[in-house]
């Protein structure tokens, strides 16, 4: 679906934003693109969506080279959720969706009301102007806008930003549903939980370079010390021991009366990011 080789981009003479990125995204995959502010992830997404021109290296989408890919047909096949909910605040959710959908062929469009219902949008607000919506409601309408055209390739930039925990769970379900339909998803995020739960593979980008690329599980496993912490009661006292995971094969290798908890010492995705880049995801 997406093939990128030696992608480089510069905003000016001394403002090299990307230094030869190479990666690919398979059909139906959710690909996470993680990096701190200013690392080059937005620039990459803008190049892939055809917003930014003037890159070097090879970029191909839908099997077509990027130089010739940005046709009307290309834009009909992609959906983009921006970091901020860009909507006409004087129009209602329905009017916004009908307006943006009107640029796509009829047979490709989804029903706006149905989509908003799926996103648990409050019915009472369907015809009220966007200016009266909360941030979460605006984010729902923006997500609906991105999905309205049944895109084959979906670019999501911080999809759960501005949502409460229940809203974030709902969005993850919707993203999963899209993947099941065969939609390829390019997810740009700071949110490690989203990346961990949703992405088939993630790329860590720092200072315009990809510093690691693998499945979240592999990234964590590679750097795990394979130990567990066991919390237990023994002779009326609460105790804790750290042991190597293979040692558990023969059962718990110490005396105990009651097990309280067993914690894996596997690093988190954020730990991995810091390890690879030396920077936090801020």
């Amino acid at each position: 679906m997406i093939e990128v080789k030696d992608l480089a981009f510069s905003y000016g003479k001394d403002k090299q934003a990307l230094h030869g990125l190479t990666f690919s995204v398979k059909d139906g995959e959710i690909f996470g693109f993680l990096g701190p502010n200013g690392s080059g992830k937005s620039t990459t997404q803008k190049i892939l969506t055809g917003i930014l021109k003037g890159h070097s290296g090879m970029v191909s989408l839908f099997g077509k080279d990027m130089q010739s890919a940005h046709t009307r047909e290309f834009f009909q096949k992609i959906g983009v959720l921006f970091e901020f909910p860009y909507l006409y605040t004087n129009l209602s959710a329905l009017d916004n969706l009908h307006y943006f959908a009107s640029f796509y062929p009829k047979e490709q469009r989804r029903d706006a009301e149905e989509l908003l219902h799926e996103l648990e949008f409050k019915k009472d607000f369907l015809k009220k102007p966007v200016s009266s919506y909360s941030k979460g409601m605006r984010q729902r309408v923006s997500m609906a806008r991105a999905l309205m055209s049944n895109p084959k390739l979906l670019f999501l930039d911080e999809p759960t930003s501005g949502l409460d925990p229940a809203g974030a769970v709902l969005f993850r379900k919707i993203i999963e549903k899209e993947r099941k339909k065969g939609t390829t998803i390019f997810l740009t995020t700071h949110n490690m939980l989203d990346a961990d739960l949703l992405c088939d593979r993630v790329a860590f980008i720092s200072n315009g370079n990809i510093v690691a690329l693998d499945t979240p599980r592999n990234l964590k496993e590679k750097n795990s010390n394979h130990s567990v912490v066991i919390d237990y009661l023994h002779q009326g006292k609460r105790e804790e021991q750290t042991i190597e995971a293979p040692a558990l094969k023969a059962g718990i290798p110490f005396a105990y009366d009651e097990l309280i908890s067993v914690h894996s010492q596997e690093p988190t995705l954020e730990d991995m990011f810091i390890q690879y880049t030396g920077r936090g995801l801020t």
């Binding site: 969506t49 909507l87 307006y99």
Partner: protein
């Protein structure tokens, strides 16, 4: 492409309605027309008063315009207002006395008027100016001025305020990923503003010149209005996309009004002499608008080529600026 264009047009029309653009235009039309019909057509400049010092009563003069005085001192005192004209006939030959008002042309008119009194052929009424009577001449002149002002300042502001709204909402960026040509985004706004300006020009002309007078000048007026409307709409578009906030835009608007439009009015409407004004592009647009209202349209190909060149250049700059805005960070 045309399907996208019609949706953009519909959306821009709704934005213009919600921004009360048409209401403001109607209000302007009402105010301009009231001013023209109830105030301006009745305005007239008073004849220069003439004071005569003629101790020997040598001059038979029309008493309607002349006030006789008893001394040279009284004559000098009467002419201190820099408006009146004095005639001193105390010696063998009469002498016109006046204090300069600071404008050579007006001083010249005063002198000519004084001499006309001296020679006894003064007639204070000018019934026809070219093919028009005085009222029609005034109506055409002020209508041309109001239309020029409306298109260059108010229309410009209307489009810019609409675009600022879209910019603040961030929706311009969404248009960067829609299956629609980006130039169409500019074209839909231009077309709407152009149509609205042309309708405004028709109404203002018909109301203030009457149907017969309007039919005579409308083809030329619409051509000039169209050129001015497109240029100002593109300048408004460019500034609204380029400038980061409405504060800076307001400052720019002030500069445009004070330093760009005002000199044109001053140079054309007052006795101010300023030869360099011919290098001011708006001056030529203003002259062309006035010429259209007096049925003497500009026929120079160079003028129309320059306008076309300006429109194309501004369009390309607007397109480039729009692309930059779309690529900007949120």
């Amino acid at each position: 492409m045309w399907r996208g264009f019609s949706h953009l047009l519909k959306k821009d029309f709704r934005l213009m309605v919600s921004g009360k653009f048409f209401l403001l235009a109607l209000l302007s039309l009402f105010l301009y027309s009231c001013y023209i019909n109830f105030v301006f057509v009745n305005l007239d400049q008073e004849m220069y008063p003439v004071y005569l010092y003629d101790p020997q009563d040598k001059l038979p003069v029309n008493r309607e315009y002349v006030t006789k005085l008893d001394s040279r001192e009284a004559l000098e005192a009467a002419c201190k207002d820099q408006y009146s004209v004095g005639i001193d006939f105390s010696r063998d030959a009469p002498e016109v006395y006046l204090l300069s008002c600071g404008r050579e042309t007006i001083d010249h008119y005063r002198m000519t008027w004084g001499e006309a009194i001296l020679h006894g052929n003064a007639d204070g009424h000018a019934d026809r100016i070219g093919p028009y009577n005085k009222e029609m001449k005034n109506r055409r002149e002020i209508t041309a001025e109001f239309l020029f002002f409306e298109l260059s300042a108010v229309g410009f502001l209307g489009l810019a305020s609409m675009l600022f709204k879209e910019k603040q909402m961030g929706v311009i960026r969404v248009h960067g990923i829609l299956p629609v040509c980006r130039p169409v985004f500019i074209l839909s706004k231009l077309l709407l503003l152009l149509l609205s300006d042309l309708v405004f020009a028709i109404l203002l002309t018909v109301i203030n010149l009457g149907a017969a007078g309007a039919v005579q000048v409308l083809p030329d007026v619409l051509l000039q209005a169209g050129i001015l409307s497109l240029i100002m709409a593109l300048v408004g578009f460019l500034c609204a996309v380029k400038l980061p906030d409405f504060k800076q835009f307001s400052l720019f608007y002030l500069i445009l009004a004070v330093f760009v439009t005002t000199p044109v009015f001053l140079a054309e409407q007052t006795g101010m002499e300023w030869k360099q004004i011919v290098y001011h592009p708006m001056y030529h647009l203003f002259k062309a608008m006035k010429a259209a209202y007096f049925s003497a349209p500009i026929t120079k190909a160079s003028y129309y080529l320059a306008c076309l060149g300006a429109i194309i250049l501004l369009f390309l700059l607007s397109y480039q600026t729009l692309n930059r805005e779309i690529a900007k960070e949120g």
